[in-house]
């Protein structure tokens, strides 16, 4: 029973997780493109196995700790999708020696040279993708920039292809805008791969990824794999983007009402930013959900209650319109569930998932942290 677990706690609804995972697998299968799930959201072997519907498979990681953890659980095909630096070669080389097929990314001639020198020194060859900047959002080489071919020359036989992440898809106001970002994302890597091949560089990997573009892209022609992670859980940002429904959100934070501020019409809970994270991803969306949308213990959103402020171990819950709260409905000790703005950030505040089936906790799945 949820009443038996200490609050705050991170709940994971297994039925919703499985539904979200199945939907993405079927969508990408229908487009004939491979899924390389990003494990950075869940940092859990069990969740990743659910995503793959298999004991192991190809994965994307954001830290070498993730790579090492998953390799230790039998995952061999690993893409480390954060710009590689020489100081990290030793750990990647060690995984390679132990049998991992781990690849890295670079986005500059300088970075490629530093990586190759470090690899030479370590006596290892690390397959490497060139990161392409499809939307000016973060890292990568812009499509058409001659630096791409210079990097390819430096990488030589280590070059495996190209990848991009359409991070700007998180800022789209409409589904059509996400489709346009997805088209740019695809075009950026497909054209870059073509440019490489035209110069004699085989580029077998053409990799894209973000949950919004993976959900709405109209074509994956020329793309070989899709990296995506948030879709497993979904969150309020995804719901605000129209990528999912509120009912698809698979994680929530179980909280207890610990106080009433009747004159201010506030409920105080024991889920502050330590349990919810400081993420305010919905602040720039049409509906600002504060630090999270409050549900009853059975998981149905109350819609009118949000976490309007958070301290370390205190959440302040109020009606969205600032109106009167019926305090009798929320006595001291009452359990609530809070849907998170950003699944990656909220899950990162916890060391385990309380897995619930039909409202009962049936398992505990560990998650890990660190680098």
């Amino acid at each position: 029973m949820l009443e038996d677990i200490d609050t705050p706690a991170l709940l994971l609804d297994r039925e919703k997780l499985e539904r979200n995972c199945l939907r993405m697998r079927e969508r990408l299968r229908s487009h004939n493109v491979a899924l390389r799930p990003h494990v950075k959201t869940a940092k859990s072997v069990e969740v990743t196995q659910t995503a793959l519907d298999a004991a192991t498979g190809a994965i994307t990681v954001s830290t070498l700790r993730e790579a090492e953890h998953f390799f230790g659980r039998g995952f061999r095909d690993i893409l480390y999708a954060v710009g590689m630096v020489p100081a990290k070669v030793a750990r990647v080389a060690e995984l390679t020696r132990r049998g991992a097929n781990i690849s890295t990314i670079v986005d500059s001639v300088e970075g490629a040279r530093a990586l190759m020198q470090a690899c030479d020194k370590a006596g290892v060859r690390i397959p490497t993708l060139v990161e392409i900047d499809s939307d000016g959002h973060r890292a990568g080489i812009a499509p058409g920039d001659k630096a791409l071919l210079e990097v390819a020359e430096v990488l030589g036989d280590s070059l495996r292809g190209v990848m991009t992440h359409a991070g700007d898809s998180y800022n789209c106001a409409t589904t059509d805008a996400i489709r346009a970002v997805a088209a740019r994302e695809r075009e950026a890597v497909v054209s870059s791969a073509a440019a490489l091949r035209a110069r004699g560089h085989p580029s077998p990997v053409v990799s894209v990824g973000s949950t919004p573009t993976a959900t709405f892209a109209e074509s994956f022609a020329g793309v070989t794999e899709v990296r995506t992670g948030v879709y497993m859980f979904h969150d309020l940002v995804m719901a605000g983007l129209g990528v999912c429904e509120l009912d698809d959100i698979a994680i929530s934070v179980l909280a207890s009402v610990i106080g009433h501020q009747r004159e201010k019409n506030w409920l105080i809970t024991d889920a502050g930013w330590m349990a919810l994270s400081r993420d305010r991803g919905t602040a720039s969306q049409k509906v600002d959900q504060g630090y999270g949308l409050v549900c009853g213990v059975e998981g149905r959103p109350l819609e009118d209650l949000i976490v309007v402020e958070s301290n370390q171990e205190h959440g302040i819950v109020a009606r969205r319109d600032g109106g009167a709260i019926d305090f009798d409905r929320y006595p001291i000790g009452k359990l609530l569930r809070v849907l998170p703005n950003h699944a990656c950030a909220t899950a990162a505040q916890h060391s385990r998932y309380r897995v619930i089936d039909a409202g009962r906790v049936t398992q505990t799945w560990d998650r890990f942290a660190g680098w």
Copy 2:
């Protein structure tokens, strides 16, 4: 050497920690008021021992996990300073049975009744303070509200006194404003304790606490103890409030430059929000430090470079004025250090402190998380 540790990593400058701790101890000693450090910021026994300049002592906690962890290391005098609910009585009772002197807080008649019923059921008596609301910031009973005396009646012999937290001190524009908040904080609990005593309730504990008010209060007359935690590390929010200098900030996040975006004048680092937290506490201050102020590897602020945006494992660093970056000074792999907005939030993203003395890592101190 800092060059030998994997990035991102949390650094703790021991000399600054000791200086901050000594300053607060001396200040409170000169005011003849006890220090009950809040362990929620550091969640580290070693840091707390530095704060106390002793192996154990009275502490404040924000979670029962903190209480259990510190009790296991010999700390017996513990105040759990988050509103108590019946479901948490069993864990507190267990600590009490094992010899802890742990006290809790409530702020309503309903909460007090629920607590006393649960205590009766568990066959335990838990010393309890009444939380006073000194600034309308979060929880507590307003000074002068007759609910205080009703709560005292319900608590009976379990009543130990009153406490408050002047959270609004974080929003002050001037030192004078902090002094005024501190005066209100003191007055709120001293007058509440007097009201209780006038009705025959001995109230030995009169407890206040926040780093800004602890630093600037002109009087602690009638106050028996001060709870404060951030001062051990300090952070950019405290510097923005004038509570510390930048040079007092004892923690920083070591990061590597992983990319250049020359057209945008961005450095990309491997310290994103997973390493820095999503806290944007300086956003509402006179100087917005983004997600953190960038220092050279030796720890001196560069002043003009801040983390302007963060993704999970990427930080985007730019000049404050948006101007040109001299990329030759920051080659791929270059180490930087980032001062955090909010020490509690940034430290919470890490499982250990790399303790540095004179620029060298000399020890690793664990920190813990969870509830």
